[in-house]
Amino acid sequence: MNTMETRKNEPVRIGFYVCHCGVNIAHMVDVEAVAKYVATLPNVVVSRNYKYMCSDPGQEMIQRDIREQRLNRVVVAACSPLLHEHTFRGATEAGGLNPFYFQMVNIREHDSWVHTDRLEATRKAMALARAAIQRVPHHKPLEVKKVPINPDVLIVGGGIAGIHAAITMANAGKKVYLVEKEPSIGGHMAMFDKTFPTLDCAMCVLSPKMATVGSHPNITLWTYSEVVKVDGYVGNFKVTVRRKPRYIIEDLCTGCQECVANCVFKEPKFPDAFNLGLGKRKPVYMPFAQAIPSIAIIDPEVCLNFKKGKNPDGSYTVSDKCKKLCVVACGDRKAIDFTQKAVDKEITVGTIIMATGFKTFDPRRTPYYGYGVYPNVYTALELERVINASGPTEGHLVMRNGKEPKRVAIVHCVGSRDENTNRWCSRVCCLYSLKLAHLILEHTDAEVYNFYIDMRTPGKSMEEFYNRVAEEGMHLVRGRVADVYPDPNDTASGRLIVQAEDTLTNKILKIPVDMVVLSVGLEPRPEAEDLRRLFNLSCSSEGWFLERHPKLAPVSTFTDGIFLAGCCQGPKDIPDSVAQAGAAAAEAFSLIDKGYVEQEPNTAFVLAEECSGCKSCIPLCPYTAISFNEETKKAVINEALCKGCGTCVAACPSGSIVQNLFEDQEIFSEIDGVLAPLPQ
């Protein structure tokens, strides 16, 4: 690979570089003192400090020193290895050395950023640097393993983010599996009426994309399905998807809805989930008019042909008590199958994009707003459905009592920016509240009040949208609503009083209104925790999926090959969700098109001559990578299966298992290094 490695018995010559990181490190760590100290340590040939080691001149400095000073080891004290280890391994390699002759020292995240005493922080940097200087002579040249990548991709979640990612990948010729939990794709966006700031109708923008997903030859769409098992790793994930029974055979259903029309229930009578219970549906139904796939579904909870209640395994038993007019109506198509069972499909994909979205805050957690108690208190999402032309009232803004409201209060920040519920800003509520106010004014002659804490309208064209809508003649009141209660002077009409302090005039307002709309915030989905476990992701303390780096790797995760798109990573609007979906697709694409994944060579191997054949290691390996050779009576590690955790290494009683990059001697040297005496 290079000339340096051939010189086997050459003495160790270390180059040490401490980075200022502008002032990020240098303000708290005396970098010159560190460099001076390290220069006194054994084997150190060069010890320098530099403003930005990761910059081109910094990396070139390393390469030049390797050539001119005949270095054969490199140590950089800078930021976290999770950020720039790769960069400096590259520089080491470019200088002509094996990249694994490099060791990184974290003196930014673990030192300068978290300590306040400059002397102590400097001493810590010295100790950590010394550990690396003592460790690096033990490093061995290693080869990066290249594993071929499966070009297929799995996308979890069929909202706008998942849809956009799926189309992007599929258009590029990749085979996409799109798995959606609900019977139709579309997600929250399909429920919206119009979208800010352009006020174009959500479905007009979304439905062509949904149709593309439904008909794309490269997309396998599995709705009403859930991922139940994930094995493997980047390039080669084995995923099990459970397709729940919809009691309609997808390939045979034409979406004609004859079954719905002929159901023994003449009138829809069950709450319609898509319309948030504001409308009604039959036991056999189409999720919504533009649903993709355009296939009916039967709800076994209420269909007369099923026995009441679930079996312990979650299935339903056919009662055969119904006249089954639906089956008659379906006729020769024979698309209805009451005996359908859940089917598990196993697929292999190389990359995964998580686009599992969000849930809206349940305002029953803020009882002072009266949601669920007073019928005229709505969530914003409910209002979207009421105002939508394909919604339960066909777009007429009427309340549950059938009357048009004369005065409407929109309450911002319900379940956002609140110490008692969620502390974060949900980012979209101010804007969708303004949009809803505009739509109410468009649909009715009502007077509209917006109660806000701060009006937050960042983003392209958003402030302009705010200015435009504000001029339409609505009341904007700066103050958090404290209470919503029935008007004591008018108990019959269901009128409510909204109480808030106008913080601009310092007056307590009590505004009588007919309708209250709660601008509910965005929350992680309740199943996010299960998904996190399933896919081996991390979550932020709020429960959003954690990106690898907030700025430099915003759609990557800590699990290689899994990317994030849309609101599962945090609240965002539609343009940002789509942009992020595109970014996630591009990241997945760049992995796939490379054709292989590079694996960190930190696998373990057995020193056969030392192994006593005790077999203690074999049951410890979660990947069954260790086997026992009955002929030689020694343990053998299959490098292809080993993931490099090192658990077997720590357990081997004879010390005959070695983990590359984390050899015993390397760790002991680090322990010795961090504890070695420092100059006073």
């Binding site: 999770l82 950023w113 800590f558 930190n602 658990t647 290494v649 015993d664 961090v674 504890l675």
Partner: protein, 186 residues
Amino acid sequence: MSDSTTKTPDGNWTPRIVAFFCNWCTYTAADLAGVSRMKYASNIRVIRLMCSGRVDPQFVVDAFAKGADGVLIGGCHPNDCHYVEGNYKCLRRYQMLKRMIADMGIEPDRLRLEWISAAEGEKVRRVVNEMVETVKQLGPLGIPAKFEQWDKEIDALAEHVAASEGAGAAGSSGQNKPQTAHTAHV
């Protein structure tokens, strides 16, 4: 090495804590604490391992032997291990180590295992600060100084034995000097 290494330049003793953090959860959490500019005690020296399952009990014992006043191990929460169950293996060894170091005369509180997820930067701050407080209460451990003391005692004993035997066979004390145990840990 002498006990003076645990002293700050102004002569006050301050604990030195060696930490073994797993790459995926706790090391990342410590990075997060950094990115979030949380402030905590500077006594901790983190050594990165891929998994808490890699923590060989010898690492812990060696850290104490070389002058650590406390050892902290950080791994992923149960069920969250990047390598499925390395953290459980670590837990078993930890429980064994707790008893073992107690037998060696090291207060078990000097060893601590914590599950810290990648999102829990705040927990890194809290645990490190608590650990430093606990070890401060316990005071210096100073095993290297004790080794020196024991070496001296052994040497004195050897000399004494040699002297009492010296009447018969003089001049053999140099060869009989026992090897000190702590220098041959690996």
